[in-house]
């Protein structure tokens, strides 16, 4: 792949520095106002401090897809770890020093016979400790309704064409368990280190909506 940046000629101007998101200086909703009132009361009364709230929010958002990628890369290299990860995903995370707050985590192994894909049809249940916040497609009604009913078409739209001879297992994460998909190790990765392998595993691979990049194709 060509990794050079495209030539930067100046047929465009640089005035167009709009924020990447809509400014949030809109009127508060009733719930937001209630939340802010409750928060200031709790702080005023000394029940919690602002720093404790901030720390907790930071803790809630600490997950990142790299956590799951590290575990999967290790499992590709270490068959005993792979067995332990499938047997008890929380314990396998703890082995790598990754703290998980989910009650129970399940690893779904992709094989030449079966491809796994995860959806939460009821809301947005997601293995946040290992993947961070869910992507917007995952919480969209379109994905939540279509992934269960027509997973093959949905996967095609993600660029993943699963042949008919491979069964698809859709996992509705509708209650207390949270799921991570363990993709198959791509060809052409012999001799790669754990860190190099982890770089091939994206967030969407762990949801089952993508396959790991091949080494020359990242």
């Amino acid at each position: 792949m060509n990794t050079q940046p495209p030539e930067h000629d100046h047929d465009h101007d640089h005035d167009d520095h709009r924020p990447t998101r809509e400014d949030d200086d809109i009127e508060l909703t009733e719930r937001e106002a209630t939340f802010l009132a409750l928060k200031s009361l709790l702080i005023e009364q000394g029940v919690v401090t602002a720093d404790e709230i901030r720390k907790r929010m930071e803790f809630n958002e600490r997950g990142s897809p790299h956590q799951a990628a590290r575990m999967i890369a290790k499992a590709w290299l270490d068959p005993d770890y792979k067995v332990r990860m499938i047997d008890d995903t929380k314990a396998a995370a703890a082995e790598l020093g990754i703290e998980t707050t989910e009650a129970k985590l399940v690893t779904l192994e992709n094989t030449p016979e079966r491809h796994n894909i995860v959806v939460c049809t009821l809301c947005s249940c997601y293995p946040r400790s290992l993947l961070g916040e869910p992507p917007s497609f995952y919480v969209s009604k379109a994905y939540r309704s279509r992934a269960v009913r027509e997973p093959r078409q949905v996967l095609k739209e993600f660029g993943v064409d699963i042949p008919e001879r491979v069964d698809i297992a859709v996992h509705d994460s509708n209650a207390d368990l949270r799921y991570v998909v363990m993709p198959m190790r791509p060809a052409g990765t012999d001799g790669m280190s754990e860190a190099e392998l982890a770089d091939l595993i994206s967030r969407d691979c762990v949801v089952g909506c993508a396959l790991p990049s091949e080494p020359d194709n990242r």
Binding site: K104, R165, I168, A169, D172, N174, L177
Partner: protein
Amino acid sequence: MSEPKYGPGDRVQILDIGKPGHVRTPTYARHKIGVIERYCGDFENPEDKAYGRWGGAPIALYRVRLMQSDLWPGYTGAPNDVLELEIYDHWLAPAGGEAV
């Protein structure tokens, strides 16, 4: 924790117990027959927890495997495509027939 009522391969029917509120049994799966994939452990009932009633007796949760062709009329994927989801004990009944 009591002994789980169902084991892997047991045929079960997912019930529609008509309970309103924060229930975790999706409508599309109700009345369908599938097999137990695994017993997941006992968990406090989310139908109570959602309304602040914590500390109830944990109930058994199972993963149930359904054939996609049984779920969706005119399903166009492969014949062995499946869907698995988590169902609490009180939403399940034995379906009879041979375990698979």
